[in-house]
């Protein structure tokens, strides 16, 4: 039997969940033996195979039109979609901007920030993605496996990947379940 194919990508997050994935150290070799690692944001291939993968993993919430595209593409090309980390699962830290609104957040970051002088302005290039409310991945596409944590520990990610690679649905509880 061919090894299951895995792809990952990140959206509105901090890349910390992928760092936590790398934090599993030499166990990544075990994972590589169990699965065929396809596209990831930290390897050369950037998009999941058009022919589809077995497991798609997304880090980060959905906060603009570009992320929506990433989410829909990964969903369409994955048999199992994993929301990795608090931002993908709940919206996380970026979702705090929902409490004040997009304009207020932009103004605070690009104009009012202490490090910005009078020339500060909100970027408005037409090529930029359109900003939206920050949403958990499950608000945009159906999610099969939720892996909360900010970030999830390397142990948690290893467990999740090992279970998925062996065709089982991971069950997070006790020490493996944390939301912070």
């Amino acid at each position: 039997m061919a090894k299951p194919k895995i792809s990952s990508d990140w959206m509105a997050g901090c890349a910390g969940c992928h760092m936590s994935l790398l934090d599993m150290d030499e166990r990544i070799i075990q994972i590589a033996e169990l699965v065929d690692i396809r596209s990831t944001p930290i390897t050369d291939l950037k998009e999941p195979d058009a022919s589809g993968v077995d497991v798609g993993i997304l880090e980060g919430g959905v906060n603009n039109s570009a992320n929506e595209e990433v989410a829909h593409k990964m969903r369409a090309r994955s048999k199992i979609l994993v929301a990795l980390g608090d931002c993908a699962v709940f919206g996380g830290v970026p979702a705090l901007r929902n409490f004040c609104g997009i304009q207020e957040a932009l103004k605070r970051a690009y104009i009012d920030a202490e490090s910005v002088d009078e020339s500060g302005k909100i970027p408005s290039d037409p090529e930029l993605a359109t900003m939206t409310k920050v949403r958990a991945l499950s608000e945009v596409v159906p999610v099969d496996v939720f892996v909360p944590g900010c970030p999830p520990d390397a142990d948690v990610i290893f467990y999740v990947l090992a279970e998925l690679a062996q065709g089982r649905k991971p069950e997070l509880k006790d020490k493996l379940l944390h939301w912070d």
């Binding site: 699962v89 979702a95 409490f99 958990a136």
Partner: protein, 634 residues
């Protein structure tokens, strides 16, 4: 007794037990959030629902009284689904994002409940509404965004403390936790006791000093007692890496039932005095750091010749915050050893001497604090329970809304004046007249004063009245005030509670450290102040001391004046015994390792005794019973 079945297990409980309590008894854990063992069941969170045979719907087990032959199930797929739904609703209501919350990672009961249900996400997304954060309070922060509206804080503030500062305003999603009529918490009627913070299950009420200083699993808990006053509340001293993190009330505490006041919970956390960590000796008018040996030798050089010189020996005064072991050593050293005629405590017997004297003829005449919890009329005299012995004040305040009249007799403004039924303001030192008038009224005489008549009428209906008296009653030069009060108490069948002074006020009284301080002809003075404050009045009376030794934890005007300074431990670093205002013998337990170079109060005194060649005994406990006490000691 009632027998019911919970998850197939039979359990026998007394009538009136709730299903939740019955389940706890056999270690069947039913999830709960709004429930707190110290508070009356409330039933607002619906997390504790169970299925009961014969009931059409799920029932909140915290408010459901157990009944005979009841069959209860606590863990079924339907219940699990219901609990997950309840939790989803709670999480979606406000900002309950965990990663940046102070209590996340073990201290949040909301998060723990979700983990217990193995929830990996919220099926309902949050409602993105901003709620106010109130940072106006000196000791805590109120973040409505983290509030789950369980009302534990509101109930604790009212039911336990009797202060009724906190309340919930508005309806539905607009529910907000507010102080008084919506004023900032720091400007409200809050008395800063911190009970609300201690019962908060989430991060809605945060303790400023201990926030982010360590989750429960990272800190050490030392069960001890508070020595802030003579109430002697049971507390847990929370430390981490030999550093004080916070102080919590112990809900199983026999005296306080978990309550504490600002003086006990927060004042010790704001300590800013400079610590003394080395013995010091005055050389050429300047204090210099020396070894313990040198300091002790300097004391012996000056004091040994004074042995047995009676009223020309050493005038000695000690803080009543010192443990019984130290006070006993102090008494043996100066009264028995030197034969000094002035060996006393900083209270100089003001709150205790007269009652102790009375006890010698009539025996113990005071009641326990429990009498206050079940009183049906309360009279306070000579004490402001809103400022001192506050937890005893909470007991009086919290029964007041049940219709228990509160009469406050105090010549000065009293913090309880605004809530009491009658505030009687006699001339200072005229309390005896008040009690004589009340006695006359109790005997059916008509009294002219309308307020006194009103008070007498309110008390007249009571079956279990309690009189709480403080040093204001007995410190004045009216020797008849106490007798007049006792006579009145006897006539109406009232229990009498004396609040006394600091933590070991009663112990000082039993050791006869209860007379006025004066240098007189004494050739030296020894002040065992420990971590207590020194009054200006005491300093003045020490000015002329030919030789002054200060045994102190902190630098002060006293240590500046002293010829020798012995550095000692503070409350958190020493173990020892205390007898509270109701005669309860309790042990304070050291929670911190002492700073290098300091000794405990008892060790320092023992070292002085050895240096001057006085033998001391370890008989502090027996010595407590050498004279009759105002309240029975046990």
């Amino acid at each position: 007794m009632i027998t019911l079945t919970i998850d197939g297990q039979k359990v026998e409980v007394p009538e009136g037990t709730t299903v939740l309590e019955a389940a706890d008894k056999i270690n069947v854990r039913i999830p709960r959030l709004c429930h707190h063992p110290a508070l009356k069941p409330y039933g607002s969170c619906r997390l504790c629902v169970v299925e009961v045979d014969g009931f059409r719907t799920m029932q909140a087990s915290c408010t459901l009284p157990a009944s005979n032959n009841m069959v209860v199930r606590t863990d079924t797929p339907a219940l699990r689904e219901s609990r997950e739904f309840v939790l989803s609703m709670l999480f979606s209501e406000r900002n309950h994002f965990c990663p940046f919350c102070q209590v996340s990672g073990g201290d949040c009961e909301l998060q723990n409940s979700a983990y217990d249900e193995h929830m990996t996400h919220w099926p309902l997304q949050p409602n993105w509404t901003n709620y106010p954060v109130d940072t106006s309070h000196p000791y805590y922060v109120l973040d409505n965004n983290r509030c789950i509206l369980c009302r534990r804080c509101v109930r604790a503030c009212g039911e336990l403390v009797g202060n009724f500062t906190l309340a919930i305003e508005e309806r539905g999603a607009n529910n907000l936790l507010i102080a008084d009529v919506g004023v900032p918490l720091g400007e409200s009627t809050c008395i800063k006791c911190g009970t609300c913070v201690q019962v908060c299950p989430t991060g809605a009420l945060i303790d400023r000093t201990s926030a982010y200083q360590g989750l429960d699993k990272k800190v050490d808990y030392t069960p001890s007692i508070c020595i802030g006053c003579s109430v002697g509340c049971s507390v847990n001293v929370v430390t981490r890496d030999n550093r004080l993190v916070r102080i919590e009330g112990d809900f199983n505490g026999a005296v306080n039932g978990g309550l504490m006041c600002e003086n006990g919970r927060y004042v010790p956390m704001t300590e800013s005095r400079q610590r003394i960590t080395q013995p010091m000796l005055k050389k050429n008018g300047q204090l210099e750091a020396v070894s313990w040996d040198e300091a002790l030798k300097a004391i012996a050089d000056r004091m040994q010749p004074l042995l047995g010189k009676g009223d020309h020996s050493v005038a000695a005064i000690a803080s009543t915050r010192l443990p019984a072991e130290a006070l006993s050593m102090f008494k043996q050293l100066f009264a028995d050893g030197f034969g000094s005629t002035v060996v006393t405590s900083v209270e100089e017997g003001l709150p205790t001497a007269r009652s102790t004297e009375l006890a010698q003829t009539v025996g113990s005449f005071e009641a326990k604090l429990d009498a206050l919890k079940t009183a049906d009329a309360v009279i306070t005299v000579g004490v402001d329970l809103s400022r001192n012995h506050q937890v005893a004040g909470f007991f009086a305040k919290r029964i007041h809304p049940n219709g228990v009249p509160l009469i406050v007799i105090d010549p000065s403004d009293n913090g309880l004046d605004p809530i009491c039924d009658v505030a009687i303001k006699p001339e200072a030192g005229q309390d005896a007249d008040v009690f004589r008038a009340l006695l006359a009224a109790a005997k059916g005489e008509t009294i002219a004063d309308a307020q006194l008549a009103n008070a007498a009428q309110l008390i007249g209906k009571a079956q279990k009245p309690v009189i709480v008296y403080g040093k204001g009653l007995i410190a004045f030069n009216d020797p008849q005030a106490l007798e007049a009060m006792i006579e009145y108490a006897k006539a109406i069948g009232a229990s009498v509670i004396g609040v006394k002074g600091e933590a070991n006020s009663l112990v000082a009284a039993q050791y006869r450290l209860d007379r006025p301080f004066a240098l007189n002809g004494h050739q030296a003075a020894f002040v065992a102040i420990g971590d207590d404050y020194v009054t200006q009045r005491l300093l003045q009376r020490l000015e002329k001391a030919p030789f002054l030794v200060a045994q102190a934890s902190y630098a002060s005007k006293l240590t500046k004046m002293a010829d020798v300074v012995l550095p000692v431990t503070i409350w958190a670093e020493q173990s020892g015994h205390y007898v509270n205002l109701e005669g309860r013998l309790q042990e304070a337990v050291a929670a911190l390792q002492a700073v290098d170079g300091v000794r405990s109060n008892v060790e320092a005194l023992r070292a002085v005794a050895q240096q001057v060649g006085i033998e001391t005994k370890d008989n502090w406990k027996e010595a407590l019973f050498q004279r009759k006490s105002a309240v029975e000691i046990a």
